[in-house]
Amino acid sequence: MFSLLRSMWLVFLHMFHKRETYQYPEERAPLPARWRGRIALTRDPDGGERCVGCYLCAAACPVDCISLQATEDEHGRRYPEFFRINFSRCIFCGFCEEACPTYAIQLLPDFEMAEYNRQNLVYEKENLLINSEGKYPGYNYYRVAGMAIDGKAKGEAEHEEPPVDIKSLLP
């Protein structure tokens, strides 16, 4: 009996507690930096696309919501010809981000993606590509990778030594 009265009193005291509610449209909950929300394709510091069209994200996706077609430009850089994410299937698991070898695909702290029309949830490349480096500023895949593209031969990447001529015996 005493415990009942005590719990009533404690509940009554909640009258003077701060309310926990966020008044949503006016007042937003602070999202953690690693929040898995809107998926975006980021760019490298030079403004080029990071995505190299390796299909790892599409392979990792458990609900098969990513589809893309890789192609190569005249400089020898690979990029996706189209890149499509169907957000009506996406479960925001973040596997695509984990699979991405170039930090191109990233999940950003934003959840306001509701649409009235289901078709509008299918995002094309121009909807996904953002003008930002996302969570990894300064990272430029082609600058650290050993692959040769126009303007950067083999051995010219950061922390990379020139290739050894294996046909020569000279040291």
Partner: protein, 316 residues
């Protein structure tokens, strides 16, 4: 009382009671939210008050569905009983000197009779729904309300002995020199607990325990028929609160700087808040615990209370 005054009182009581019941929906949601550190409905209108309007419109426009397997006549009849019986109980409550619909000599008995009538709506509603959960809820409701009715009446007898009348106006008048809460505090607690059980409000909402019985006796009800049960429950809260105030807290009596009606409303309001607080803080007892508590503790206690009150009345 002139005929004009009479009709004015009837109209006023109906208007106030029905609106209170509707307003309580809003109040309960807001208060529960406050005690759970939330806001509750606060968008529609000032302080979210228009949620009542929205709720009412929603209930009216919902499909008024009668299940094909239900007993149709009884199914329609049952929700009307709860509202009618509670509304009839309000006729005997003196809201202020001379503001009472029916100044019965046997007002207390009439109240007990009407609250027993309320059981019919639960039993008939549960039976007519032809649904196992509804029937289980109805059975629980019937046994709970009949058990708690017994010592609800017995606990009231202490007040009746002290005031020497079944008439509620006279009971209020008898409290001029001190409210009955002091000499009858045991009776008050028993009556309050029995009252909560009668309105099947939250610690004792076993007939409609949603975690076990879907929604108990009104599982099959929708639209305004469900609304009738809903309104009946809130009017029941108001009724029990105003009965507690009338019987134990001096009804409309109070210092003269406020009119009697305001005193009555204020006191009733405190008890309505207590009902909501109970809902916010109490867990639901098991069914056998409820029965045990009623028959083994409250029933003997109310008998002892009655005997002692009678003995003191005889000796003094």
């Amino acid at each position: 009382m002139s005929a004009g005054h009479y009709w004015l009182v009837i109209g006023g009581v109906l208007f106030v009671i029905l609106n209170t019941a509707a307003g309580l929906i809003w109040l309960e949601r807001r208060m529960l939210a406050l005690w759970q550190d939330r806001y509750g409905p606060n968008r529609a209108g000032p302080f979210g008050l228009f949620i009542v309007l929205a709720d009412t419109i929603k209930l009216f426009f919902k499909e008024d569905w009668i299940p094909p397997f239900a007993d149709k006549v009884v199914f329609v009849f049952a929700p009307a009983v709860v509202v009618a019986s509670v509304l009839l109980s309000f006729t005997i409550i003196p809201f202020a000197p001379n503001v009472v619909v029916a100044d019965f000599n046997v007002g207390v008995l009439f109240f007990l009779a009407m609250s027993s009538m309320g059981v019919y709506s639960i039993v008939l509603g549960g039976w007519a729904s032809n649904n196992k959960y509804a029937l289980l809820g109805a059975m629980r409701g019937a046994s709970q309300m009949i058990s708690y009715e017994v010592f609800m009446g017995l606990s009231l007898m202490g007040v009746v002995i002290m005031s020497g009348s079944f008439n509620l106006s006279e009971i209020v008048a008898a409290q001029k020199n001190g409210w009955f809460i002091l000499p009858q505090c045991v009776g008050f607690f028993i009556f309050l607990i029995a009252g909560i059980a009668e309105t099947h409000r939250l610690p004792f909402d076993i007939p409609e325990a949603e975690s076990e019985l879907v929604a108990g006796f009104h599982s099959e009800y929708s639209g305004m028929k469900f609304g009738m049960f809903f309104i009946g429950e809130y009017m029941g809260i108001t009724l029990i609160s105003s009965m507690v105030v009338t019987l134990y807290f001096g009804g409309w009596l109070g210092p003269a700087f406020l009119p009697p009606v305001i005193w009555f409303v204020l006191k009733t309001f405190v008890f309505i808040m207590l009902f909501i607080l109970l809902r916010a803080s109490m867990p639901r007892p098991r069914y056998d615990q409820l029965m045990e508590y009623g028959w083994k503790i409250l029933f003997p206690l109310s008998l002892v209370n009655l005997l002692i009150t009678a003995a003191i009345k005889l000796l003094i």
